[in-house]
Amino acid sequence: MKKVLAILSFPCMKTLFCVVVVTASQVSYANDRFITLQSTTSTANSGLYTAILPAFREETGITVNVVPVGTGQAIKNAENGDGDVVLVHAREAEEKFIEDGFGVERFDVMYNDFILVGPGSDPAGIVGSDSASMALHKISVSGSIFVSRGDDSGTHKKEKRLWDDSNIDPISDSGRWYRETGSGMGATLNAAVGMNAYTLTDRGTWISFSNKQNLELLYQGDDALFNQYGVILVNPERHPHVKQQEAQIFIDWVLGKNGQQAISSYMLDGQQLFFPNAK
């Protein structure tokens, strides 16, 4: 203790101490009513939340703090109680989340679709394939590079299912033509650009992505590429601190007329990114 006091007796230390008190007191929150939304990089990177959340805040006075991570991590964070609402796109994982008692109920919010993008020269010849899994099959046979998210995100889960459908196990070639980045959609698209490779992406991120270079949309339209987003309230019985009231207001809004309208009116480059389909 003596030593601490000795150090504090320095004039400069006294100034430092004041600064500490000041910085510490600055740590407060601009808004009292807020909820934490665990969501995906695809929705956040595409600019959707920046477009629709201000309207929600104006209507309700509630700030939504969006944590943009992959679906896998979003669900994991919510299981730990680090969020009030989850808005993700991996139906099976969402249903398991509820089954395990972490979520209350799942509602469809909106959809768009996944697409296959790749080098404009299309060395694997996937343009005009009969199905998405056929296109993947062609990529693996041609030995062209395919970049995978490899991060347990919704997009990654979808990709794995498509590989299953094509009866190919790309993991055995991981590091060769099959390359897992283990990062978000945007970072993976950047990697695909850098390697002139194929990858699976959601349409929203693709439209809003500004570093396309040689990459082009090569395959779309298979029903298997449907991309449904769901919203779930984190179970207050499991995590009593969940802001049930505010979270429910948000869920009601995003499923209601105003929220659905806000989603459908979000356009980029003249294209609609997400299609509302709440029941």
């Binding site: 003596k2 030593k3 601490v4 000795a6 150090i7 007796s9 320095f10 400069c12 430092l16 600064v19 500490v20 910085t23 510490a24 600055q26 740590v27 929150y29 601009a30 934490t36 990089t41 990177n45 939340y49 920046t50 703090n65 969006v66 944590v67 943009p68 964070n77 299981e79 730990n80 109680g81 680090d82 990062s183 978000g184 959609m185 945007g186 970072a187 698209l189 950047n190 809003s208 992505f209 500004s210 570093n211 396309k212 995590h239 601190h241």
Partner: protein, 235 residues
């Protein structure tokens, strides 16, 4: 090359147009990292002094551990802090996850070893120089520490700068514990990561240039303070 030119123009444009989002992010970056440096000085300087002048068992071991901890990977620190601050973690009740405070905590853990190890290095050298005098005057240990800290104060500023540099540049820890939430926990580095992932490479690089400039200004400012007071001291 064209990208870099474009980024320079974009950076100048962002700063000159007084983009409010940009200044909010810069403000938060500075607030978080400067706070982290100050807390780290409070923790690291006493620890460094203790090791420098102390004569206790395990001193050498402590030194080695501190030196090793200087290389703590930010992403691991972020993960550990997340596990503690998460609602399911032991400190979850404090509701600190996804706040600037959580980011400060992570950065303090990252840079305290740097402050402690570097200040110990400086103070040890000085202590060796002064040791005989201290002995002949029979100076109590805490007075000796005071004298050492005072005489080393200019070099200790550099220690603080090293800590600040590390704090303001890291992205791994603040991304995990802050969550990169717009208008709440988004700082320069996480904004750069975000813009890169959106494919806005020019904007990302522009933000990077601004970050480097800020770092330069902070260093230049402290350098001026340092030389001016040195002049006062030595005439």
């Amino acid at each position: 090359m064209q990208d870099i030119l474009q980024s320079l123009l974009l950076a100048a444009n962002l700063v000159l147009s007084g983009d409010s989002d940009l200044f909010e992010i810069i403000g938060l970056s500075l607030r978080v990292s400067l706070s982290a440096v100050i807390y780290s000085i409070f923790l690291g300087l006493p620890l460094g002094s203790l090791i420098a002048v102390g004569n206790f068992r395990g001193r050498q071991a402590l030194m080695i551990v501190l030196n090793a901890l200087m290389g703590l990977p930010p992403v691991v620190v972020g993960l550990v802090v997340y596990l503690f601050l998460s609602r399911s973690g032991p400190l979850g009740w404090m509701e600190l996850l996804y706040t600037p405070t959580a980011m400060i905590i992570a950065q303090v853990i990252l840079i305290t070893p740097i402050v402690a190890a570097l200040s110990q290095e400086i103070l040890s050298q000085l202590f060796e120089e002064y040791d005989e005098q201290f002995r002949s005057l029979n100076v109590p240990r805490w007075v000796a520490v005071r004298a050492l800290l005072w005489d080393a104060r200019f070099n200790l500023v550099t220690v603080g700068l090293a800590g600040f540099g590390r704090a303001v540049a890291e992205v791994g820890a603040v991304m995990i514990v802050g969550g990169n939430i717009d208008h709440l926990t988004r700082v320069m580095t996480t904004a750069i990561a975000l813009e890169t992932s959106k494919g806005n490479l020019a904007l990302a690089l522009a933000l990077g240039l601004i970050l480097i400039t800020i770092s330069l200004l902070v260093n230049a400012g402290l350098f001026l303070v340092k030389t001016r007071s040195q002049k006062q001291k030595f005439g």
